[in-house]
Amino acid sequence: MADGLTTETTSAPGKLISLGDYSSIVGSAEVDEIRALAQRLSGKSVHMVNSTAVGGGVAEILSRTVPILCDCGLRCRWDVMTGGNDFFEVTKAFHNALHGMPYKASAQALELFLSYTEQNIGQLTFDGDFVVIHDPQPVALVKARGTPPPHWIWRCHIDVSNPQPALWDFVLNFVRRYDAALFSSPSFTRPLPIPQYLVSPAIDPLSQKNVPLDGDFVQKTLERFSIDPKRTILTQVSRFDRLKDPLGVIQAYKLVRKYKDCQLVLAGGGAADDPEGGQVLSEVRAAAGNDPDIHILELPPWSALEINALQRASTIIIQKSLREGFGLTVTEALWKKKPVVASAVGGIPFQVIHKFTGMLTHSVEGTAYQIRFLLSNPAIAARLGENGHQHVKENFLITGNVKRYMLMFLNVSGAA
């Protein structure tokens, strides 16, 4: 169950992230420009609502976006919707169905969803200038909207391009009451009667996952996992999920091995609470066999620094997904100036511009070939890495995320 929570009503005491902390990364001119935009919104209030305070990409992004918006002079509040296990079981089923998995919502499930929505409407106050509702769980809170202000915005972080039609019709009844919808990729959208905007997910260069690391820490991390730092390291960071195609990665690695000496690291979250994940992990282990150069690492959720170190130590990062959301592990790798070989699915083509910021592939064979090509052409690999870093700096950092929210607020309020 998620606990009810309100965070950051204004710039709070203590060491909070501020926009100025990023000036050494994005440049003081960019910081000045964001502050200039913020002046147009000075004194306005923003109310963010999602369904979890910790864990998951949305909470991670909000935990950074909210303090930065406050630091820029907006009054920003973040509320977390409350609900029992029964509510989150229903919304998990909704989530899967909106991704296209078979599901028929019972009348009881819809009633329970609406009942928790009403309960939260009774507990929350929507008195900001801008209310931003994140994802489908709290989507029906829009029932509370009165006459503007506030302006209501639905930020959809998931791919709803191919949902179960009946459930989508139910959700659409609420979505149409918003002023605008924000999506992570144009490919995740559906026709809507309201304006849709692109707001790419973002990484925080100051977070543990992305902060520069001491070389000793990277070295010790490799030693801990018995990875040879002197030899080529190919890495895919992903949970053990068929859609991430770890078996395809092993096949590609085996094709590369015919030409190049290398090691393969498959690093992902633990699978103890995911029966299918456990099965996939068994299949991956079976496919790896007794190859001592395939390192299958089950890492706990608090392994951000280790993941960071593995990415930094890698020669090439692979993301051979069959389906993908935005693919923030790709963003992280690009930020670390790593050459990336990735499937052209989901949000990946927005990050990996073929032959400019990485290599896009469509098959095991293509993946293996591009890895061999980059291993044989380290100067090209290095240039892709540099370009990838610039691409993330321009488009996928948390500061850009804040800027796009400000542009959105100016736009929906007619002040642009």
Binding site: A29, D32, L37, R40, Q196, L198, I353, L407, M408, N411
Partner: protein, 218 residues
């Protein structure tokens, strides 16, 4: 030190991307959607994308060319689309007409490419731009150079590239101001010649500063 007749105000331009819902899964559809898309879409996939990818100088030009290359595997069409230089256009309508004509010509010669399914769809988006003044202004050439060092590359792009779509048409803001307010036509002409397709925006900034240096003592 010569004072300008009018102040140069450096502006910051930021863009939000609007998803239009228009999409193409093959070149024939791209042509159809191109014909009916808005000027804001043309701007987004040409001017705006060049700015967002300014650090790529190895042939990246616009989204249409990139899609033709990577999703449709049509390198000849990609080269032709990429060769359309946005600095040659005073209106987005003219640019759109040439994009359409390039695609029509290609499909007339290569009809089998028209209905071949692309690996990924092309999604038409529009740029919604907000412009705000920065703290930087100039009344003299040294002030101009100092401010140019301080502003973001996006400000450089706004004044150096997208300015061509604003009055006075077909000239960048820097050259226009240097000529009309400081009487430095030769310097303005030199700056106008800097190639945005083979330089990063940071390199454009450096080139402008290098061109201006000899004039600082005049």
């Amino acid at each position: 030190m010569k004072m300008a007749e009018t102040l140069f105000q450096f502006m910051a331009a930021s863009s939000l991307t609007r998803i239009t819902g228009q999409r193409a899964t093959m070149l024939m559809e791209l042509l159809e959607e191109l014909r009916r898309c808005s000027p804001a879409s043309i701007f987004n996939h040409t001017f705006q994308t060049l700015q967002e990818h300014h650090f790529l100088t190895g042939g990246f030009s616009n989204d249409f060319a990139q899609w033709a290359l990577t999703a449709c595997k049509e390198p000849q069409l990609a080269e032709r689309l990429a060769s359309l230089d946005i600095r040659h256009y005073e209106t987005l309508t003219d640019l759109k007409a040439d994009l359409v004509a390039t695609l029509e010509d290609y499909l007339a010669l290569t009809p089998e490419a028209a209905r071949r399914r692309a690996f990924e769809p092309f999604y038409f988006c529009e740029a919604v731009t907000v412009v705000v003044p920065t703290q930087w202004q100039a009344k003299t050439l040294p002030e101009f150079c100092e401010a140019l060092r301080r502003v973001s590359v996006h400000t450089v792009y706004y004044h150096f590239v997208t300015a061509r779509l604003r009055e006075p048409l077909a000239v960048n803001d820097f050259s226009w101001w240097l000529e009309s307010s400081l009487g430095l036509k030769d310097l303005g002409d030199k700056i106008e010649q800097i190639d945005i397709y083979t330089h990063t925006l940071e390199a454009v900034r450096q080139s402008i500063l290098e061109e201006a240096t000899p004039w600082l003592t005049v």
